[in-house]
Symmetry: D3
């Protein structure tokens, strides 16, 4: 019954990569806590780099500065 | 003052249906807990079927398999 | 497959009332969008009145002032 | 290490305004709690006015009525 | 820079198991997307079984019925 | 109408500090975006240091190592 939410910046993640994240997160809950995969939900949010900040700066600005 | 967040897959939900969800969720909080509707907030997130997983699979894959 | 999160202040909501919220929110998704109740998840978060703010004030302060 | 999520309606907020929100929220955590800005994350979600409800109505409807 | 939120029912998960979830979720983001672990944040929410519903029932009720 | 969620580790934040966070976050939305403070909601989540991870480690472990 777990619910996992993964937030990442929106920078061209392919459907295949997303499927891997979903598979891996579900398996993690099975392996560590013995959860039932059939009721394990994973939701991926892709966030625009203008809308994500760290250290007081947007990721857009950080990418420009090579970070 | 409640805050309700409804996450659903992005599969053509009309504005009318969204308005029904908002009305219904607000009324639920009024009916069950006597909350003030004027400060009850409802936010609907529509999530791409590539970004939603259950049972370790994306909803995109599940739809292909008729689930 | 929907996921609903309900945030309310922690002010003595009984297990029976929580069960009503869960039942009602699930039924709403069934009625409005035809969702499968068996994979509809509802999570209720109860938030301390010191930790909830509206209009720039904590709910604790507002309750003292009769709001 | 704090994580701040700001949800606003999607009504033409510029990248400059978003950068101000990120800077301001990060500074708030530094000023009030002495948090390290380098590990403070801010994520802004812009929500369609059809998907945001208050008082049982969508913001789209409210805007039509001049609210 | 990813942010991962894992919601599980509050049923006696040990600190060691939580540390495994955090390590595993971080590694997943490194392996699948090449993310920097140093800025990957994982937050685990433990939710009371009265506050978690699936199929319109609380987990408390389901546990009583052997589910 | 904005909704702000602030997640911090649960390390003895006083009600006064929480009130400052709520006041400051509300004011930020007023100053930057001209939002109405009366419908601006701020919710603070305090997360146990066992339940918060960064760089693949719990904050509990990091505190032991002086980080």
């Amino acid at each position: 019954m777990p619910y996992v939410n993964i937030k990442i910046t929106n920078e061209g993640v392919t459907p295949e990569k997303k499927a891997e994240l979903i598979k891996g997160a579900t398996q993690l809950l099975v392996d560590v806590l013995g959860k039932n995969p059939n009721t394990t939900v994973v939701v991926i949010d892709e966030v625009d780099t203008d809308n994500w900040g760290i250290a007081g700066e947007t990721v857009t600005e950080r990418r420009k500065n090579g970070q």
